[in-house]
């Protein structure tokens, strides 16, 4: 087929994504260099890099960057490590496998706002929550999760959502593992741990790469869980970049500073993506 026709078929997707990327991004760049507060309309003079200075010196800035990265790494580690271990353990036929699969994947379909509400109220509430009840049953002082360990609470919520996804991907991948190879290794006296280390883990390299990539896309942008549960607090203890920028733009009406923050978030995502796509790109056949 002619080059021109193949281009024509690709054009709608490529052009729409280009527009989707370039127009808002150039507007963000422009806004980030002017004074732009919705409370003071008409005073939009050029201010150079002042907005960036404001954003970077904001007391919430360093906590927000740190929290974004801590959240990303913790959830990745929890879901991948637990996912691999759990999937290896349940990768044998047993009673009711189908139902277990369905139960396991369910949290993945729960919307982030509901996820946060369930955990905030029914699980982590220091008086009426399930966790409080469990601690009390053991004679311990109940923990006020959201105010004592806000970031950890968010990490728990987000991991709860993504662990099922990781388990399911790994279980599916393990089903295609060569059983003969495993049996041969067993014959040669390999222990379960050896098989796990030298056969299972290498077999999972590609699924792990895929899980890491997909989760990263979503984890850098965690917003609803924080919005609904901790509101970024107490202080900036559970504020990530997404929430900090939202705070600047829609709560403080400072579009200029929020745009500078947005650009910073884009930069951070690009740094992460750069390493990620290099690492994962090899594992995705194109």
């Amino acid at each position: 087929m002619k080059r021109s026709i193949t281009r024509l078929l690709m054009a709608p997707s490529v052009i729409m994504l280009l527009v989707w990327m370039i127009i808002p991004l150039s507007m963000t760049i422009y806004f980030s260099t002017i004074r732009f507060n919705l409370l003071y309309p008409g005073q939009n003079n050029f201010v150079g890099l002042m907005n960036f200075e404001f954003f970077i010196t904001d007391p919430g800035f360093i906590p927000a960057v740190a929290n974004t990265l801590i959240l990303l790494l913790s959830v990745l580690i929890i879901t991948v490590v637990l996912g691999v271990i759990l999937s290896a353990l349940i990768d044998k036929p047993f009673f009711g496998q189908g139902i277990v699969r369905v139960l396991l994947i369910s949290p993945f379909f729960i919307m982030p706002t509901v996820n946060a509400l369930i955990w905030k109220n029914m699980m982590m509430n220091p008086v009426y929550g399930i966790f409080a009840w469990i601690s009390q049953s053991f004679g311990l002082e109940p923990i006020d999760w959201l105010s004592s360990y806000p970031l950890m609470s968010v990490i728990i919520m987000v991991s709860w959502q993504w662990l099922p996804f990781a388990i399911l991907v790994f279980v599916t991948a393990l089903q295609s593992q060569d059983t003969e190879q495993k049996e041969a290794a067993q014959m040669d006296g390999a222990t379960g741990l050896h098989i796990f280390r030298y056969l299972t883990i290498p077999h999972l390299a590609r699924p792990i790469a895929v899980v890491v990539m997909i989760e990263t896309i979503f984890l850098l942008a965690v917003f609803a869980e924080i919005f609904v549960s901790t509101g970024g607090g107490p202080g900036y203890d559970s504020t990530n970049l997404a929430y900090l920028i939202y705070n600047q733009a829609l709560l403080q009406y400072d579009v200029g500073v929020a745009s500078a923050g947005g650009l910073f978030a884009v930069l951070l995502a690009n740094i992460v993506a750069f390493f990620l796509i290099r690492a994962v790109g090899k594992n995705l056949t194109v």
Binding site: M21, F94, I118, N121, L163, V169, L220, A249, A273, I277
Partner: protein, 276 residues
């Protein structure tokens, strides 16, 4: 113990373990579901009550207070609408990249995926202002457009990875028989890819249904989908857990049940075919 007994014991332990993990992970959902049938007083009782007389009162209140049906309709329209549009745009692109790859096809695909990496907050302000200026704030149109663009890269990639595994000979045979490119797509590629296209569509619908960033920031009431409706229950106006649970159950039930039926295809789809 004989070998057979040993094997049975092993299966039993595996099963016990798997069930425990599954039940622990499922527990919050189960609890939400149970709580939605309690009275407010039962909902916050300590120790938690497991046996009680179920009531449907909460569901009635939720429908009256926040018009569940209206928001559910918004969710259905935005997620199905944007998925449909995205598929129409993505299928030709994925087809042309899979069957007529050029030197830069890989780069284009990676670039598309990298637009997913662009954090939404980076463009929140411009999108908000554009919507405001064109009167699209709190409109389903805005959400459909954004959801379409948001999922387009993933949809193109998933379809691409499926199409490229289709045997090229079939297409060549069709071409020999004088099929036009249009015939090729409609009569050969599409029928062969019903499974892949539907699992892609499923995934896109789930992602749209649960999307919360744009729906929280761009809608208020008229166009608010279920994700935004639920957030309105987060305000600290007291402990209305039973009603909250009823609203949450209503918001999640459609997509969770939908997901149960297609979880297998979903995993295959989401991993770009890397896991079969």
């Amino acid at each position: 113990m004989t070998l057979n007994q040993q094997r049975k014991l092993k299966t039993f332990i595996t099963g016990l373990f798997a069930w425990t993990v599954a039940l622990v992970l499922f527990f919050p959902i189960f609890w939400m579901f149970i709580t939605s049938f309690k009275t407010e007083l039962q909902a916050i009782s300590v120790p938690p009550s497991l046996f009680f007389e179920p009531t449907l009162e909460n569901f009635k209140v939720v429908q009256e207070r926040s018009d569940y049906v209206h928001h559910a309709l918004n969710s259905v329209i935005t997620s199905f609408g944007s998925t449909f549009i995205a598929l129409v745009i993505a299928i030709p692109a994925a087809y042309s990249m899979a069957f007529f790859p050029g030197k830069r096809t890989k780069d284009i695909l990676l670039w598309m995926l990298s637009t997913k990496m662009l954090p939404a907050v980076g463009v929140l302000v411009p999108i908000y202002i554009l919507c405001r200026d064109y009167g699209l704030l709190d409109s389903r149109t805005a959400l459909v457009i954004i959801f379409t663009l948001m999922n387009l890269p993933i949809i193109v990639w998933m379809l691409f990875s499926y199409f490229k595994d289709l045997p090229k000979e079939i297409l060549e045979a069709a071409r020999m028989d004088g099929a036009t490119p249009w015939d090729e797509v409609v009569k050969v590629v599409l029928p062969l890819s019903v499974g892949a296209i539907s699992s892609t569509a499923l995934l896109s619908i789930v992602l749209c249904w649960n999307e919360a960033f744009w729906s929280l920031n761009l809608t208020a009431s008229e166009a608010a989908p279920l994700t935004a409706m639920i957030a309105s229950y987060s305000s600290p106006e007291g402990l209305f857990w039973a009603k909250l649970s009823a609203a949450s159950t209503l918001a999640c039930a459609p997509i969770v049940i939908f997901g149960w039926f297609c979880q297998k295809q979903l995993v295959q789809g989401l991993t770009f075919g890397a896991v079969k």
